[in-house]
Amino acid sequence: MNDKMNKKKEPLTDTQLLMTITICIFIVMYVLAMLLLKGGFLHAQQIFDLLNDNASLIIVSCGLTVVMIGGGIDISVGAVTSLVVMSCILYLNKGGNVIFAALLALLIGLAFGLVHGLLISYLEIQPFIVTLAGMFFARGMTTILSVNPQKVDHAGFEALRNTKIEIPWLGYVAKNGNLVPARMELGVVIAFICVIVIFLILMFHRLGRNFYAMGGNQQSALMLGINVKRTRFLSYIISGILSGISGFVLMMHTGAGNATNAAGMEMNAIASSIIGGTLLTGGVGNVAGTFFGTMTLTTIKKIVVSSGLKDPWWQSITTGGMLCFFILLQSIVLGRRQKKKQA
C-alpha cells in the first residue's frame, strides 16, 4: 500500500489545488472573452487597464489574504484606504512633500494595524468587531477631514502620477497608423512588488509559515512553540501597512478623493481572496491565488459591460453569481477530498 503511494506523485495541497482551479478558470474566461467578445480583449492594454484600475484592490487583497490565512478577518481595509487618500491629498494640497505623503500613508496604515493587532491578539477581542470599529473610525475620520471631494493640486505629485511605463512591444497599431504602446501605471509596479514580497514571506519566511500554522490549528501552533499572539499581531500590522500603500496607490490612480472613496472595497477584497482560494477558516490560501482572484473578479465585470448588458445592476448580479459559483466549487472540491481521505 505504502509502496504504491510512494510511486505516485505527491498530491496537491489544498492551497495549491484551489489556486490552480482559479488560475485555470481565469485563463479560460479570458480566452473565451478574446474569442467571443473580441474588441479590447484582443489588446494587451486591456489587461494593463484592469491592472491600472485595480492596483490598490490587489494590494489590500494581499493584506487581507495574510490575515485570513492566519484565521482572522480585517474589514477595515477599504475605509483605511479611503482615509489615507483623503489625508494625503489634504497634506499635499497644503504644500507638502511627496515623500512625506508616502510616509504619512504608511504611518496611517501602520497605526490602524497596530491598534487592531493590539486589541485582537493581546486583548483577545473578536477581530470582526475590532476591525468593524476600525472601519467606522476611518470612514468617520474621512468625512471629518473633508465632506467635499478633493483634488490633488501639487506639481511634484502630478509628475509622479503621470509617470507611466510604456511597453512598445505589447502595444498595437491604431487606425491612424501610430503605434500605441501598452501603458502601465507606477501603482501596478508597487502592487506587483507587494504581491511578490508577501508571496516570499508567506512561502519562505518563518513568519509566513507561522501564519499558516496559526490558521491551521491555533492550539497546535501554540504547542509547537509559535508565539501565536505576536504572529497574529504581525498579520494585522501587515494588513494595515498594505492598506496604507493601497491608499497611496489609489490616490496616484485617481488624483482625487471623496468621502465614499473605495466604498465596498473590503468586500471586494474578501471576494478576491476567496476566489483566489483563501479559506476564511484559515490555514489555506496564497497571494498568487489572490492576485488571480482579483483579476477574475474585475475581468468578469469588464466582460459584462462589453457584452452589452448595460443596465447598472448586471455587474454586481453577475459578480454575485460568480462568487456563488466559486464558493460552491471550492466547497464541493474540498468536501470530496475529505471523503476520499476517510475512505
Binding site: I73, L119, Y122, L123, E124, I125, Q126, F128, I129, V130, L132, A133, G134, M135, F136, F137, R139, G140, M141, T143, I144, V147, A259, M267, I270, A271, I274, L280, T281, D311, P312, W313, W314, Q315, S316, I317, T319, G320, G321, L323, C324, I327, L328, S331, I332, G335
Partner: protein, 355 residues
Amino acid sequence: MKDKTVNLKGGLGQLTIPIIAVALLVIFNLIRDPGFFSISITHNNYGNAVLAGNLISIINGASELAILAIGMTLVTAATKGQDISVGAAAAIAGSVFVKVLKSGAEISGGTVILAFICSCCVAMIFGAFNGTLVAVFNIQPMIATLILYTCGRSIAYWINGGATPTVTSPIINAIGSFAPGIPIPMPVIIVIIVTILFKLLFHFTSLELLTQSVGINQSAARLNGINTTFIKLLSFILLGVCVSVAGIIGVSRLGLINHETLLLDVEMDAILAVAIGGNSLGGGKFKISGSIIGAYVIQMLTITLYAMKVSSTDVKAYKAIVIVLLVVIGSPVVKERFAKLMKQRKKLAKGGEAA
C-alpha cells in the same frame, strides 16, 4: 432557591456590558442636558396626539435594528457566523413590498397584507438560499452571505426597474410613524409584537435548546437525533422574516424605496448589537434580550452624538471609539488583569494595616 440566585448571576453576567453601556449613556446625557429624556406630547401633521422627545426617537429609530438583531442572534447561535446580507435582503424585501403595492389600483388594508406576505416570502426564500449554502454545503456564513451582499441591492434595483418608486397612503404612513389614536410610534409596537412572537416561539417549541446544541457541538447534536441542517436553515428563514419586517418599516418611514440607502450598513450594526448584547459571535449560548438592548445602545449612542451636534457622516468615528471602549472593558483579558490588580491592592491595604 440557591439555584435561582446562580441563574440570576449567570444572566446578569452576559447582560453586564449592555446594561453598563445603557447606564453610562443615560448618566452622560443627564449630566449634559438634564432635560434630554423628557417626553412631551405634540400633535403631528395629521392632528394625532403623539409622544415626542429624544427617548422616543431612540426607541423608535432602533426598531429595524432591534428586529434584525433578534434574527441575527439566532443565526449566530446556530451557525457560529453572521449574515452580512441583511441590509441588501431588506432592500429586496422592501422593493417587493412596493412592487406589489403599486401593482394594484389603490392601496387598501388587503393589499398591504398581501404585499407583506409576498415580501416575507421573498425574504424567506433568500434566507433559505443563504441557509442552504451554510447548512448543506458547509460554507461559512459570512462567505455564503457575501454573495447576496454583493448583488442584493442590484437585484432590488432590478425589481424596481431602475427607479426609486414612492408610495403614498395613510396606511403606509401609519406603519412608518403613528397610527391614528395611538401615541406610541408604530415601529415600536411592531418590535414589541415581533419580540413577543419570538418569546412564544421559544416557549412553545424546543428551538432554543436545539439551536444552542447545534451551535456548540454540531456532531453531538446530530448524534442526538437533531436535524442540524434543518435548525440552521430555520435560523436563516426566521432571519428572513425579520429582514422583511425591518425592510417594510424602513420603506414605510420614507414612503419610498431606495435600493442604495435603505438600511445601509445595517448588517454591521446588527452584528454589533449581537456582540454588545454579550453573545459570543462564535455561536452557542445566546440571549435575545441582550441583542435587543444592544440595538438600543447603538441607537442611543447615535442620537446622543446627534444631540451633541456631530454631523451624521462623522458619527461613525465617535461610534467606533465607544465600541472599542465597550469591547475593551468586556475583554476577558482586561477583566482578569483588573481582578488581579484589585486583589493586589487589597493585599497591600491589608499589609499596610498589619504594619
